[in-house]
């Protein structure tokens, strides 16, 4: 019951946010939503299944271009083009399955790096379809006669997508699929011995992860309104990776925290952009040393019953209320 109150309260707050937030802040929130979904996707693959990927910007790019081209060139209605973009990206995910079945850890990372670089090279050269280096303008999303041409309207689209994708992720994680993922991550051989087919489950992991990132890419297209191949580079892949690592690998709230925090950070630091790279690097190092499970891992550890006693009273009361 308490949980229900908490979540409905949060939902109301989110739904009413446009009333008291500026369009600029809503735009950044929309971007945070995009990265949230992408981070969820990467987390399902790396955090839960243990398959390292630093080429996810490739899926983001595929989703973005598919999401923009389907309505622009093939007159696909936009409510269909977002999931379709996700599926196209998901199918592209199978490309990575081939190295994933043969390589582990750093070697798989290199293969994913190659994938990301390949996508970044193909997109600008396929000028007939993508508009080349100049990039392309994304047609405005329209649904039942309503055009999503303001940050407020796009906010609600992003909110709906984010909520759906989080619920889906929770479902996956709590299901047989999720348990198989974790088994593969923790002890691949033992998992095989238990009859978990590596091919089948790794394939599912790559498909789902690429699907998520593709959806994020399509949303990115509509939120920004303009996409160019140069944006989907290694730096972008590493950004998503950072969001996952900083927020918390293998956790859904961690993905939310990491994505929102790192999306807002550059805008908080807008006077000190040069510092941004330094902070990113420093944060990553600190996280690895002190909080290997990210911010969320840190929060969880310090709200465990034994640690709870050490917290000051008011904080303890809040945690206990949330716990129910």
């Amino acid at each position: 019951m308490r949980r229900f109150i908490l979540w409905s309260g949060a939902l109301c707050l989110l739904a009413l946010a446009p009333l008291f937030l500026r369009s600029y802040t809503l735009y950044i929130l929309n971007m945070a939503g995009v990265y949230l979904v992408a981070t969820l996707g990467l987390n399902l693959l790396t955090g839960y299944t243990g398959q390292l990927s630093i080429g996810h910007a490739g899926f983001l790019a595929i989703g973005a271009y598919a999401g923009a081209l389907l309505p622009a060139k093939l007159a696909v209605p936009f409510w269909l083009s977002i999931p379709l973009a996700g599926i196209i990206s998901g199918l592209a995910g199978f490309i990575l399955l081939i190295p994933a079945l043969r390589l582990t850890a750093i070697y798989l990372a290199i293969a994913t790096l190659g994938f990301g670089a390949a996508v970044a090279e193909i997109l600008p050269r396929w000028t007939a379809v993508t508009g080349g280096y100049q990039g392309m303008k994304v047609p405005k999303a329209a649904f039942l006669g309503l055009t999503l041409d303001s940050d407020v309207k796009l906010y609600y689209l992003a909110l709906i997508i984010v909520i759906l994708m989080i619920l889906l992720a929770r479902n996956i994680v709590g299901s047989k699929l999720g348990r198989a993922f974790v088994a593969i991550r923790d002890q691949e051989r033992a998992a095989q011995a238990l009859g978990i087919s590596l091919t089948k489950y790794k394939a599912s992991a790559f498909f789902i992860s690429a699907f998520y990132t593709g959806i994020a890419g399509a949303l990115y297209s509509f939120v920004v309104g303009y996409i160019s191949p140069g944006e989907f580079d290694l730096a972008k892949s590493l950004l998503i990776f950072m969001m996952m690592a900083l927020g918390g690998m293998g956790s859904i709230p961690g993905s939310v925290v990491g994505a929102v925090f790192l999306t807002f950070l550059p805008h908080w630091l807008s006077g000190f952009r040069g510092l941004q790279q330094f902070i990113y690097g420093a944060a990553l190092v600190l996280v690895v040393i002190f909080a290997p499970y990210g911010i969320w891992g840190f929060v969880r550890r310090w709200t465990m019953p034994d640690k709870l006693q050490r917290l000051p009273r008011p904080l303890r009361a809040v945690v206990e209320f949330v716990r129910g």
Binding site: R22, S23, Y24, Y27, I28, M31, E121, P124, R125, T127, G132, Y133, Q134, G135, K137, D151, Y220, V224, G225, Y226, I227, S228, G230, E231, P266, H267, S270, R273, G274, Q276, Q277
Partner: protein, 396 residues
């Protein structure tokens, strides 16, 4: 007693409400970015990341002129110019955020000296829809002034001018028939290539060799070899400074010396990067080299730049931003003390043969907001730049 208090409370609240309402209505009627003593001008210029070496001089060049106007004459009609140049890191997604901040929070009067093609492209529709004037974007792309948009004014010549001028000069003036082209694989190189080849085909000339390379290329030997083996007598370089230097050095080792032609990205700094290989390269400029002797306007620029940013070497990037800023302040001045966006636009449209001695003449009209059309052909000779002639591609 209680009644009186209630009435009093209602009176106070109503007074407050009406005051606030009155103030907000008054706010709405004001011109955005203009107060009694300031004019807010916004810009998006990359000051971090790969494009920072271009962006930072651009900020400094523009800021130099605005500072000068503020310090020397207290601004325009008593209004000091506040130049807010936000860093978008050359990432169009950031540009959208930065522009929203400038337009909706800072409520700038106009966007001036913005940097970049893809960055401007991402926010172009938004700025047009919101009626925000944009003056002097730093980029060469065609969309910036064609088709004509009421609120957007360019100063830099676009890729049509560059591409066609290079092709025309090679064929008509230098009378070369065997022409080679090298271009960098990005928006800049691709668009230039389009117009060079179009103009060449109009003249009945097919390039004997065309090479293209990614922006990250470091080894140009195979490209130069291709050009040499095709026997190109003139090679049109459509790229940036570092890659041009690498190509020239490579050609020198091969003993290959065609007539090199370049665009506005070439500056005499090429001598430092390529040494004697840079000799006799002909490139297109549209601004007087800051180091030109006996030139008061160029000297003033170097003087002012040194005053506000001591130690910064004048470059083509800071100079064009400086000139763009001059365009802005001249228009603000012509618009008069009763400043509105519409008056600012009309003031710009009165520019006929406008120049401050550093560029070819610029003329605007309600149907033509493109800036420089005629270009200056310059040769690298004896360690410096030598002016050859002015070339108006529209005349051929």
């Amino acid at each position: 007693m209680l009644r009186k208090m209630k009435v009093l409370r209602w009176l106070v609240v109503s007074a407050l409400v009406f005051t606030v309402a009155g103030l907000s209505i008054a706010q709405q009627e004001e011109v955005p970015g203009v107060t009694a003593d300031t004019i807010k001008l916004g810009s998006f210029i990359a000051q971090s990341g790969a494009v920072a070496p271009i962006g930072i001089p651009v900020v400094h060049g523009a800021q130099t002129w605005y500072n000068f106007i503020n310090d020397q004459w207290g601004g325009i009609y008593g209004r000091k110019i506040e130049f807010i140049a936000l860093d978008d890191g050359f990432n169009p997604a950031n540009t959208v955020a930065v522009v929203k901040k400038l337009v909706e929070e800072e409520k700038v009067f106009a966007i001036v000296n913005p940097l970049g093609t893809i960055t401007y492209q991402a926010v172009f529709d938004y700025l047009v829809q919101n009626g925000v004037p944009v003056v002097s974007p730093h980029g060469n792309a065609v969309f910036m002034c064609q088709p004509t948009v009421h609120t957007a004014f360019s100063i830099q010549p676009n890729n049509i001018a560059f591409g066609r001028t290079l092709a025309q000069y090679a064929v008509l003036k230098l009378e070369k028939q065997k022409i080679g082209i090298s271009y960098v694989q990005d928006a800049f190189g691709a668009e230039l290539y389009q117009y060079v080849t179009d103009e060449l085909s109009k003249r009945g000339v097919t390039p004997v060799a065309t090479v293209s390379y990614p922006g990250t290329e470091t080894n140009f030997s195979s490209y130069v070899l291709q050009l040499q083996q095709a026997g190109a007598e003139a090679v049109i370089l459509l790229g940036y400074l570092a890659d041009a230097a690498a190509i020239l050095r490579e050609a020198e080792t091969l003993g290959y010396k065609p007539q090199w032609l370049g665009t506005n990205t070439i500056t005499p700094v090429l001598y430092q990067l390529a040494g004697t290989a840079a000799e006799d390269l002909i490139f297109i400029g549209f601004a007087t080299d800051p180091g030109t002797p006996y030139h008061p306007e160029a000297y003033l620029f170097t003087l002012l730049l040194n005053r506000y940013f001591p130690g910064e070497a004048p470059s083509g990037y800071s100079e064009i931003a400086y000139i763009g800023a001059q365009m802005v302040t001249d228009a603000l001045s012509i618009a008069g003390p009763d400043l509105t966006r519409e008056k600012f636009i009309q003031a710009l449209e009165t520019f006929k043969d406008w120049e401050h001695g550093l560029t070819p003449k610029i003329t605007f009209s309600p149907t033509d907001h493109c800036g420089i059309e005629a270009l200056w052909l310059v040769a690298l000779r004896g360690g410096g730049a030598v002016f050859l002639e002015e070339w108006d591609w529209t005349q051929y």
